[in-house]
């Protein structure tokens, strides 16, 4: 029951945090223009396709060393917080999760290319492991909530973006894309989103000639907090990558549950 108590504490703590200051999400370095892509060898590149133009939010998963560095000045931050609020107990003091500084947001445009009726998006990122965390569907603002903003808080995938190359994560199928047969609705009656990994014969933009393009190697990720208070859902199962046993995320490669 220890984790139950922890969750209860977190849940109750949320009530005290409702007035916390807003943290902005950084816009992604989204590539448009025309002509061949000039690769910056110090950056990674993430490519994805959408039938309808939309926004997406990715979470860069902070490496352990970064997490340690972030948490080191906790005692300093505590003293600073106590100087503003003398009644603050150490036990009640929490720093904002490091994750909140690691979201990036793509926007409806610019589009890198259009191939086979799909909008191809390309963003330049710090190399690292990324997770498709949110889909912002419809006409929405980078910094504001939308009614149909959906978080894949209950199951998603992560992949690595290496320096000097493009990682192709395939197509994100929005919940009202019109091609193919519709997916069965989730328990709230809404259609789910799906990630369709790139096929072996996926056509590549002529703008990427001479650039190393690799298909993403996905691994399943477990539940994450609903940082932005969005609608919650999960990506549809992906054979060999992501499946579910009720609400438990199963690593499709090992068959092991992810807690």
């Amino acid at each position: 029951m220890r984790w139950t108590r922890t969750l209860l504490a977190l849940s109750l703590a949320a009530s005290a945090m409702l007035a916390s200051p807003a943290l902005a999400v950084d816009p992604a370095d989204q590539i448009g223009g025309s002509g061949p892509l000039q690769i910056n060898p110090t950056l990674g590149y993430i490519m994805f396709r959408l039938q309808q133009k939309s926004d997406a939010r990715l979470l860069r998963i902070p490496p352990a060393a970064e997490r340690r560095k972030y948490e080191a000045p906790r005692s300093f931050e505590l003293i600073r917080a106590q100087s503003k609020n003398p009644t603050l107990n150490e036990a009640d003091f929490e720093m904002p999760p490091l994750e909140l500084y690691n979201f990036i947001n793509t926007q409806m445009g610019p589009v890198f290319d259009k191939i086979d009726g799909q909008n191809v998006y390309l963003i330049a990122v710090r190399p690292g492991t990324y997770m498709l965390s949110y889909m912002l569907y419809g006409h929405m603002w980078l910094s504001g909530p939308g009614d149909a903003e959906t978080c894949f808080c209950l199951g998603s995938v992560a992949f690595e973006a290496r320096a000097g190359q493009v990682v192709d994560i395939g197509r994100v199928r929005l919940n009202d894309d019109w091609d193919g047969s519709p997916l069965p609705p989730n328990p709230a009656g809404n259609r789910p989103f799906a990630l369709i990994p790139p096929g072996a014969a996926a056509p590549v933009s002529p703008r990427l000639q001479g650039v190393t393009v690799v298909p993403a190697r996905f691994h399943a990720t477990g539940k994450i907090p609903n940082y932005f208070g969005a609608l919650i859902d999960r990506l549809s199962a992906i054979p060999g990558v992501l499946s579910y046993d009720r609400d438990t995320v199963i690593d499709g490669a090992t068959g092991e549950p992810i807690h």
């Binding site: 849940s11 328990p187 809404n190």
Partner: protein, 149 residues
Amino acid sequence: MAGVAVLAQPAIAADPPAVVESADPYDPPPLAFTPTPDVARDFDKYFYFHRDNTSFAEALADIIECDYLSHAAEFGAFSGSRSLMTHKANLRVCMGYKGYQRYGLPRDLWLKFNAEDSKALPPEAEHTRMMMQQARLASGPAPAQPALN
């Protein structure tokens, strides 16, 4: 703890009571009602969960987890700005994936163990009581009424 202390007092008998509320503050209220079309129209808004073969501890853990995931996490950028509809849709998704079924209620009964204010959570003791009662219902006897879709 004030909320619990008050609730723990014996119910004052009305004239004469059809049902007596339990002195145990975590016992859910009696849920007998007549499902008129007016009441049924609001079942999408007012409901509770139940799953067969589920212990109280499992149900409580599930309810706490789904409550936590259904609204903005602490330090969330847009905390408190979401609608109650989003919160309820999220509970349906989270509990639904866990295999719970949903049962409709009239608003007045629902309000006995749920909060309707979307801007702030109820005080801690009240929030705890609500989740405890929800967990007892979720793990208790199977409801006589049919489950909602």
